[in-house]
Symmetry: C2
Subunit: 208 residues, 2 copies
């Protein structure tokens, strides 16, 4: 299998942390240069119809895009070190936590960065800086929920490390582009959890 990735982008990092937690080392990484617009070339669009990274290509040529869908497939291949739930209720609860992070922390963070950061101008046309700045504030309710959650339990979806921690960790690390540090922003529980996750062997996956 091959995984098409771009270094330092948050979504490829999500899948690479997931693979690292599963000790999956047999997937070939294929770099895609976003700045050279390789993701818009027809050969890549044939694999990823919306030109996004990452994409998992199976040995028969079947391609799966969308980070969480790729993780669903990898979890079915390697059930050990479960990260997405073992029964219907736990799968739903982990998916709920993962989606709360995605929609209410990752999405406004991405929109904040993409509409404000000069480095993202080539990828986000046109940028709307005032909208982007509003997204920094829209992260408030999502970050407040995450802070409250991590004040009550060790991990984002409960007592154990799951895919929701991966999504949240990649979001917090990505927001360092905007010099965001949880402790300085009044989120000590998020900071303590982030520092614990950063100690895991998987934490540096996808950084280069």
């Amino acid at each position: 299998m091959k995984l098409y990735v771009s270094p330092r982008a948050p979504n490829p990092k999500r899948v690479r942390m997931f693979m690292a937690e599963k000790n999956m080392t047999d997937i070939t990484l294929v770099p895609v240069d976003l700045n050279a617009h390789q993701h818009s070339e027809p050969s890549y669009v044939a694999k990823s119809p919306l030109s996004r990274v990452p994409v998992l290509e199976l040995d028969d040529g079947t391609c799966i895009s969308e980070s969480r869908a790729i993780c669903t497939y990898l979890e079915s291949l390697v059930p050990d070190n479960n990260l997405m739930g073992v029964d219907g209720l736990e799968r739903a609860q982990i998916e709920m936590a993962d989606r709360l992070v995605e929609w209410y922390v990752l999405l406004p963070t991405m929109q904040w960065i993409r509409h404000v950061h000069p480095g993202l101008a080539p990828l986000e046309k046109p940028q709307f800086p005032a909208f982007g700045e509003s997204q920094a504030e829209k992260r408030g309710p999502g970050l407040d929920w995450l802070e409250s959650t991590l004040g009550k339990q060790a991990f984002v979806a409960g007592k154990r490390f799951t895919i929701a921690d991966i999504t949240a960790f990649c979001t917090i690390e990505f927001s360092r582009l905007m010099k965001f540090k949880p402790a300085e922003a009044g989120y000590p529980h998020i900071q303590a959890w982030r520092d614990r996750v950063a100690q895991r062997a998987s934490a540096s996956a996808g950084d280069n």
Copy 2:
């Protein structure tokens, strides 16, 4: 079980169509009046930390928010009339299609409507109309992918009706608020598929 819903909102409709496809008639519907800000009352926030509808409340008081997470739980309760995949690969492929609809059609549609439509002004503060109008155009790649997909296969994720069709149908119906009609916008395959889905018994679920 109880499902907290708001009529005509796209996310509660997703879960109600899913329930209708599963012939689940034993879930009590509890209306939440968004215009009266019932979703911001402490008793509701205790069930839905980000104040969103829908929420599924189990008989033991456990609450699950996020439409797709609720569907994951319902699918585990009623595996017949499978809508989310029967093995790891199919689950991943359906999740991929569902997410492509969500992120590249539903998200820009919601942002278009929320930032432009006067009726949404009380829920989206502040509105950024120029950003909203840009989102109408950002739907292009997602709608082009959906049109191409439905030109090659009967349903959004393949040969059979799945949760990805529900997400796409609720998105297209929601965009009628902006007078969007696929055929008039140059998407005949989406229109033909929409008209077929509209014939299903589940199609009117959540409309009132």
